[in-house]
């Protein structure tokens, strides 16, 4: 325990607490001097909480050491290019490390923690929905300054954003760990910025969770004004949390692009990069250029609340619909930030387990870029009923439906990859296949929402809820689990338990189909999304009960996974060689990898996925002497 309090993680949290108090105290002092009110429902006033939250983030980063080197350089003090790792055990993962592999694992573990929290929130409100009428989140309940339905809204809203942040961190986790290994690089291009990108996400997550206890907010993760301009102070913590998490995304993406551009092994031309690298680049291009818009749209509402600026207040000449344009300009492409790396994992792993080349490598690579580019011109399909200019709806319908083309290319190429293979189905492959089918359900339920007239019925119903859970599970969650099972031996030198992995898969997948298909069914019949309770006359009670049970089974399967994950670190079967018989460079050397990855550099001498071609090689390691000469 004493060791834990000495870690950068614990120090950061401590300083965030101090910083929050200082920031809030500063505003409170100024308000007292100006004769304004100094306390409110949640002790501090809203402006005090906002500045407190902001200063808290800065103190976290200052206090835990993520920015120490930069400050030293600014003062003219030199620091070593590489710091010796102070710890070797678990403490390493709670300290500021510059090793991309450590940072990748840090991202992944925080993502798993947030998935658990977001999932817990979902189970709480899913339980309330199991039957019509309010059972335990009633109006008489009072918690954190909220009654039952308000708490429902807060948990539902936080479920959305916590999951989104956890997905962004999960994406960063896989990319951070894997991309430098695939490229043959020693590390990411900017290791300190890499550490910074990770550590800023931690206080951001704390801010998001603070919103729960500061009155919550009842707007959903979308935070549309004018509702968000009236919500309790928790809304501001939510805005600030997302704003802060956005930095992690933007800087992380910049790092990935620089790394891929500058640090590829000799001979690794664009069309010889592992396909996952293409996906990482496509996703980073979006994250780098679009994330600003969600940050700014939330910032505008923050300022509307703090300073009375009427950006979205129609009484002051503002326009509430403008917010939706700004918000969705990021938040639609964000979906592709989530799924492109997942689809990349599918494309990366399929050839290994089908024992066949990836069918149409170039087409798959270009389809990732295609999805990323088209994704920028489709945002208003979220607004077909919003009251925006009517003539805008048709062009956005056309552009949105175009996304189906590059997505279709991926599906067809995956199926063609499997065709005439020699398919093995260990746990990672099961999740890859599950991901394909689930993403197919998500993909096929998409076009009706993209088509204006059918969307007029489907918009804001459980049909949409089912649809996007399918796309996110198929495009991210299943491939994420596949990646964890697949690269776990690389990171630890041990493999996760196969039996538990298969139980995880066979418990989660059918439950998930029941969950999302059931959601779509009642959505079509009239179930609105984001409601704490539904009209018993609709006759949805039985379906909702089934959905709740399915939700619990998914929760249970993820708990099995988490047990398997942490238990296998110490007790898993030893697996230090090329466990999956892969051609990829990281599997040609023993696991786990040393600090700067490869002892000898490698050169790319062939195609990455030439399975079935005798005597072909993807990479060739130079002899030790040669590398010394170099």
């Amino acid at each position: 325990m004493k060791k834990f309090f000495a870690t950068a993680f614990a120090r950061g949290l401590f300083w965030q607490f101090i910083g929050t108090l200082l920031g809030a105290g500063l505003i409170t002092g100024i308000r007292a001097a100006m004769g304004l009110s100094v306390t409110d429902k949640f002790f501090f006033t809203e402006p005090a909480w906002v500045l407190g939250g902001f200063i808290g983030v800065l103190f976290f980063l200052g206090g835990n050491g993520a920015v120490t080197d930069w400050f030293k350089w600014a003062r003219g003090i030199n620091t070593p290019e590489v710091h010796e790792e102070k710890y070797s055990g678990w403490e390493k993962y709670f300290s500021v490390s510059l090793d991309h592999k450590v940072i990748g694992i840090q991202y992944t573990v925080v993502a798993l923690a947030l998935i658990s929290i977001g999932g817990l929130f979902a189970l709480i409100f899913r339980t309330e929905l199991a039957a019509s009428q309010l059972q335990f989140l009633t109006e008489d309940v009072q918690l954190f300054g909220q009654n039952g339905p308000q708490l429902y809204n807060t948990l539902m809203s936080l479920h959305g954003m916590i999951m989104i942040v956890s997905i962004l961190l999960g994406v960063s986790g896989i990319i951070n760990y894997v991309v430098p290994l695939l490229l043959g690089a020693q590390d990411m291009a900017f290791p300190r910025m890499n550490a910074f990108s990770f550590w800023i996400a931690v206080p951001a997550a704390v801010l998001l969770l603070m919103s729960l206890v500061l009155g919550g907010f009842d707007t959903g993760w979308t935070g549309y004004p004018p509702l968000s301009a009236r919500a309790p102070v928790g809304m501001q913590m939510f805005f600030l949390g997302v704003f802060t998490a956005g930095w992690s995304s933007i800087l992380g993406a910049l790092n990935v692009i620089a790394t891929v551009l500058r640090m590829r092994a000799k001979g690794m031309t664009a069309m010889r990069m592992p396909i996952f690298v293409w996906a990482a680049v496509a996703t980073s291009l979006i994250a780098l250029t679009a994330t600003q818009l969600i940050g700014l749209s939330f910032q505008l509402v923050m300022f509307q609340r703090l300073f009375g600026m009427g950006f979205f207040d129609s009484a002051k000449g503002g326009n509430p619909v403008l917010f939706q344009h700004l918000f969705w300009f990021y938040s639609h492409p964000a979906v592709y930030v989530f799924v492109l790396p997942g689809l990349g994992v599918i494309s990366e792993l399929l050839p290994v387990f089908a024992r066949k080349p990836l069918f149409g490598y170039r087409w798959i690579a270009m389809s990732s870029l295609g999805i990323a580019l088209v994704g920028f011109v489709v945002w208003a399909h979220h607004m077909f009923t919003s009251g925006m200019n009517e003539y805008l709806r048709v062009p956005f319908m056309y552009s949105t439906l175009l996304v189906a083309i590059p997505t279709g290319v991926k599906f067809f190429s995956w199926v063609a990859t499997l065709w005439k293979g020699k398919i093995e189905t260990p746990t990672p492959m099961l999740f890859v296949l599950g991901g394909i089918v689930v993403f197919l359900m998500g993909g096929l339920s998409g076009p009706p929402n993209a088509t204006v007239s059918t969307d007029l019925h489907l918009h804001d119903t459980y049909f949409i809820v089912g649809h996007f859970h399918d796309t996110i599970f198929g495009g991210f969650v299943f491939p994420f689990f596949a990646a964890l099972y697949y690269w776990f031996p690389k990171a630890t030198g041990r493999r996760m338990n196969e039996t538990l992995g298969k139980i995880h898969f066979w418990m989660m997948t059918p439950s998930f189909f029941v969950l999302t298909l059931g959601m779509m069914r009642i959505g079509l019949l009239g179930m609105r999304r984001r409601i704490a309770d539904y009209d018993p006359a609709l006759g949805f009670d039985t379906t909702h009960l089934v959905l709740t049970i399915a939700g619990y089974l998914i929760g249970l399967s993820v708990m099995i996974f988490i047990y398997n994950f942490f238990n296998s670190i110490k007790n898993g079967e030893k697996a230090e060689g090329n466990v999956w018989n892969s051609r990829s460079p990281e599997w040609q050397v023993p696991s786990p990898m040393p600090m700067h990855n490869y002892d000898q550099p490698f050169e790319v001498v062939g195609e990455p996925y030439d399975y079935g071609l005798a005597d072909s090689k993807y990479v060739e390691f130079s002899a030790p002497a040669k590398s010394a000469h170099k």
């Binding site: 339905p149 509430p320 149409g360 067809f412 918009h459 009209d535």
Partner: protein
Amino acid sequence: MQHFVIVGILVIVMAVLTYVGLDSAGLMPVQASAQAVSIDWLWNWQVVAMSFLFALIFVPLVYSLVVFRRRKGETGDGEHIEGNTNLEITWTVLPLFLVLAFAYMGAYSLGEINRVDPDAIEIKVRGQQFSWTFEYPEYGIVSTELHLPVDQQVVLLMESSDVIHSFWVPEFRVKQDVVPGRVTRYRITPTLIGDYKVRCAELCGMSHYKMENPVIVDAQVDYDAWIAEQTAIAAAAQTPEAIGQLLTVKNGCIGCHSIDGSKLVGPSWLGTYGSVREFADGTSAVADDAYITQSIREPLAHEVAGFSPSSMPPYTALTDEEIANIIAYLKTLK
């Protein structure tokens, strides 16, 4: 070649089975408007396309898993096939035509939905946290029920008092947001007599889930009778109490304040006038004329224990006379 034939047959069988299964499941609610016809027509074609595309991917995937699985003791890799440019072009171009066809059908169907009948009846709709109010300007009627004559196009001119709401009657299919500061239009031609509900589809705050009002599609005679009845009630409203009651309907007050003592978003009005109000900060006051006037115009002035005054927007547009009428009405609620 044999593999392709088997898979081809299975794809067709699977596609037909999927479509028949989905179609017979009864996916949509009752069709109660002319606009729903065009939406359901498109939806049906989408289900056809979904069934086919699902089979087209799912069948070869499962087939490969069974037929091309690695058998016990087998070593070696699969066939070395790197790709096929003609195939890639085919499955890029054919879906492009499919997509364009559906986009065209979507635009056509949208045109049908928006078709304007110059004789459409205009009804004003107001959305507020957490109820709907309907005003028939021709007759001076205000109601919390939306009555519509069957087979007659109506256009709803919708406004919001506070936040964004969304007008949705699942049986009509069409949905339209109601945005503060502007008037949005919702054009519908009900075709099936019956009782429905308008359900707010855009999250609008704490009691969003409760924001449902009756929508009643009547035969023309029943509609006329209802209009006559409501007109008579409105005309009879000459006393301050009756005018006050209409005002509370028109302004949506009764969405949050019950008149029978039950607890909604705000305190019930039953027996409120003249009672002692207990506030969250421990103080209290008697609900007299001045207190009620202030509560209407500045809801944030007092926080009644157990309620959140920020749920209520300030009603500054009401005149002194109107507020006096409302107070007269409140006095009758004992």
